[in-house]
């Protein structure tokens, strides 16, 4: 009975959007060095890897699944890229191979989850370790840094004199695609239905397993694209690139109001969550907060972001029932 008042309650993704604006304004006003163009381009450039993987991760979590192996897939892609470059292949040949590798990584996760019916949390913890291990076997402890300049320049360059990195352009295109797929296509509609009630989705003729397999595969593809971007952006391909990035991605997505149990959330909220986390990490770096402490903050945010929407819902419910009694 309280539902119609709930729909009028504040939506969590709006809360996160407002929070992002508040944090940005506060940082401009109070944090030294935050507002200059160089820092802003660092902020966005460092946040882009999180944002890129957050796109497919949002769809995956909405469907009720999760992929913890994304950072390892990114690392593996970078490592293979470095190894093949050392072998003398051209970068134009290497990139498609790496992307294909990402597809395979995602496919393996997806097949283990859909064919064997294993929980994705367990499967991808396993492949998190496995993919990273393979990366180390492939490249050892080498760091490959001598990629062609025009690629390095693209990955690190800015648009004209602005603070925006060039890589923002392809990201915006991918973001638009993801928004349309999740919010305006039958595929997206089915994704929400699967996450909210998988059995009812199956009874409605939705091909649940096929859809999940596609989502895992695309996640692998985007993770490897991120790995390539990472290696070029930082001009360093190492087996341990992007270690721990999955924590940031999942924290950001959940912070953006994507329900961990599936079936709820918007991509707008998820991306707001990503940049909120990115801005906080940037501010902490400017304030000389150590990397370890930043991970603690990310972890705490992760817990809060699972709690936050629930508390918001409880508060809305309580307020609604107070109005009623």
């Amino acid at each position: 009975m309280a539902d119609f008042s709930l729909s009028r309650a504040v939506r969590w993704d709006t809360v996160v959007g407002v929070l992002l604006i508040v944090v940005l304004l506060l940082s401009f006003g109070t944090v030294d060095g935050f507002g200059n163009a160089l820092n802003l381009s660092f902020l966005i450039g460092n946040t882009l890897p999180i944002a890129l993987i957050a796109l497919p991760m949002t769809l995956l979590v909405v469907s009720g699944e999760i992929d913890l192996s994304v950072a390892s897939t990114a690392g593996l892609s970078g490592a293979v890229m470095g190894a093949l470059w050392n072998e003398g292949l051209t970068i134009e040949a290497i990139i498609p191979i790496c992307l294909l590798l990402g597809v395979v990584c995602g496919l393996v996760n997806g097949l283990l989850v859909t064919r064997l019916g294993l929980p994705s949390l367990a499967v991808t913890i396993g492949t998190l370790a496995a993919y990273r291990g393979i990366a180390q076997i492939v490249l050892g402890s080498d760091a490959v840094t001598d990629f062609p300049t025009q690629y390095l320049d693209f990955a690190a360059g800015r648009i004209g004199d602005s603070f925006l990195p060039q890589a923002v352009l392809p990201f915006v295109v991918l973001l638009a695609i993801a928004v349309v797929v999740l919010h305006a296509t039958p595929f997206g509609r089915a994704t929400f239905a699967i996450g909210a009630n998988e059995e009812a989705a199956r009874f409605a003729g939705i091909r649940v397993k096929r859809q999940k397999l596609i989502l895992f595969t695309v996640t692998g593809l985007m993770a490897s694209l991120t790995g390539i971007f990472w290696a070029l952006h930082y001009a360093s391909a190492r087996y341990d690139n992007a270690t721990g990035l999955e924590l940031s991605v999942i924290a950001a997505v959940l912070l953006g109001g994507i329900d961990f149990d599936g079936g709820k959330g918007t991509l707008g909220g998820a991306i707001a969550g990503v940049f909120l986390l990115g801005a906080l990490q940037n501010v902490m770096s400017l304030q000389d907060v150590s990397a370890q402490s930043q991970i603690v903050v990310t972890g705490v945010l992760l817990v809060l972001s699972v709690l936050g929407p629930r508390v918001a819902r409880q508060v809305a419910l309580a307020r609604a029932s107070q109005r009623l009694t």
Partner: protein, 505 residues
């Protein structure tokens, strides 16, 4: 407490002019009710009439906006369910929740077991107190038996015993018989009569009207949150009661039209799923309603699931209008013109957190599409169309389905499937747990669909429904088709004989 002016016995519990609103919805309007000791009082009304709200008000869950609750003639205010329980009011729900690993006795005396020295639990005293309660109810249940594995009927008995252990004087039974078999209902009624003779007041809710006439002395009817009548059951007919509930004469409950059957629409040939059902063959023709009867667990639902592609079959073949279906693929079954309205609407039929519009839209993800994108206009008009055609009662089409009553939820599931324009419609328990008015509407709808040439396969545990609606009755027994009975020969006796394996096919 009696007043000198009172002519008869005083009501133990009374509601006086109770009103209760949720937002803009007025769930109860000036409802009054008196419960006397030693009576079984029926509460009748369609889904959404306000029965649940009334029960929750009596049980202290809701506080009324206006009006009084009188206990022995004294106004009381319940601040929570605990207050109502302490006042001697107990609610027995349809599906009790016991601790499965504890014994019956421990469940009854949970948290207040008799103690011995040093605070140790006195198992002997707990046991004998439970045995005494069971004797009082005239039921044989071993107090030391764990609750796990008890039938729902036995679990209800445990709940009733627990209520008695709290010295309950008022028992509210919310659809206690919905999940019981015939003999279990008879035993429950025995217990209810015993309680009545011991002076308890029982408020009894059931969708099965015949039960009201069997066990109740008086009946109070609610409609749209308003009190309609409180009157003795004696002298009333079922038709009278239905008229009070729905406010008009109910068209026939089983409006079966005579239809000449057409071509074969659904053909199931030697279908087998190992360990579940074996060698099942039957046909349903266009225009026919075929009933599929059998005891719970006979394999009816399982056959329907396999035919639609939810589960895979191990052998056999299914054909819909000339198309051989792919094993385990609901999407191809849908494309061939098959629709399945599943048994469990909350778990299988609906996404409860989604809107009415989108729930109906889920079966249209292939059709309400333009250039690969959702055509929201088409989706909305498709959903609105069918919601209106089926007379779903809702505030806004964008409301989530969990705001609807059970009967209206079932209509949304039907709308969702009728919107696909099926040539073959399988309905599994289409009217379970919905009120008599909606039930008649669903039956009329099925009859009209058949008249339009749709082949209908209707699974039901409601025998009068099968007999009233089906052109032919298929009966399953232990995973096999036991009999096929034409409408002219179908009676409760012939169907039950086949369902229990007493007659050969």
């Amino acid at each position: 407490m009696t007043h000198p002016s009172d002519p008869g016995p005083a009501p133990v519990l009374a509601l006086k002019d109770i009103s209760k609103s949720f937002g803009a919805v007025r769930a109860l309007r000036d409802v009054s009710l008196e419960l006397f000791p030693g009576e079984v009082h029926a509460l009748a009304g369609e889904n959404g009439a306000g029965k649940s709200t009334l029960i929750k008000t009596l049980a202290g869950v809701h506080r009324p906006d206006a009006g009084q609750v009188l206990l022995d003639g004294t106004p009381v205010v319940f601040h929570g369910p605990g207050d109502a329980r302490d006042a001697g009011i107990a609610v027995i729900y349809q599906e009790p929740t016991l601790f499965p690993d504890l014994s019956i006795a421990e469940n009854i005396f949970m948290g207040r077991q008799p103690r011995r020295a040093l605070g140790r639990i006195d198992h002997k005293a707990t046991h004998s107190a439970t045995a005494a309660l069971m004797r009082r109810l005239g039921v044989e249940l071993d107090p030391d038996r764990p609750a796990r594995g008890l039938s729902i009927a036995d679990q209800q008995i445990v709940e009733i015993a627990k209520a008695l252990s709290f010295d309950a004087r008022v028992l509210i039974m919310d659809e206690p018989t919905a999940a019981l078999t015939g003999s279990e209902v008879a035993r429950l009624f025995g217990v209810v009569r015993t309680l009545r003779e011991q002076g308890a007041a029982v408020l009894f809710i059931s969708h099965r009207l015949e039960e009201i006439f069997q066990i109740c002395q008086r009946v109070t009817t609610l409609r749209d949150g308003a009190w309609i009548a409180s009157e003795p059951v004696e002298g009333m007919t079922e038709d009278d009661l239905v008229r009070r509930m729905v406010g008009r004469d109910l068209d026939e409950l089983y409006p079966k039209q005579d239809v000449t059957a057409g071509e074969v629409a659904l053909s199931v040939r030697r279908l087998t799923r190992e360990g579940v059902f074996t060698d099942v063959s039957f046909e349903v023709r266009h225009g026919e309603i075929v009933g599929l009867a059998g005891l719970v667990g006979a394999g009816r639902t399982e056959v329907a699931r396999a035919v639609f592609g939810i589960d895979r079959w191990d052998a056999g073949e299914v054909e819909v209008d000339g198309t051989i279906l792919t094993n385990g693929a609901p999407s191809t079954a849908m494309a061939a013109g098959l629709a399945l309205v599943p048994e469990d609407r909350r778990a299988q039929g609906l996404v409860m957190d989604m809107s009415i519009e989108r729930n109906i839209g889920l079966t249209g993800l292939r059709t309400t599409v333009r250039a690969g994108f959702m055509d929201r206009g088409a989706e909305r008009s498709r959903s609105l169309d069918w919601a209106v055609k089926l007379q779903v009662k809702y505030a806004r089409i964008a409301d989530t389905v969990n705001t609807l009553s059970g009967g209206n939820q079932q209509k949304v599931v039907l709308a969702k499937w009728l919107a696909t324009g099926p040539r073959v419609l399988i309905v599994d328990e289409p009217t379970r747990g919905i009120d008599v008015g909606t039930k008649a509407e669903v039956h009329r709808l099925l009859s009209e669909l058949a008249a339009d040439g749709v082949a209908v396969l209707m699974i039901s545990s409601d025998l009068p429904e099968i007999l009233g609606m089906a052109d032919r009755v298929l009966v399953m027994h232990e995973g096999r088709l036991a009999a096929e009975i034409p409408r002219s020969e179908a009676t409760e006796e012939t169907v039950m004989a086949a369902a229990t394996g007493r007659a050969a096919a």
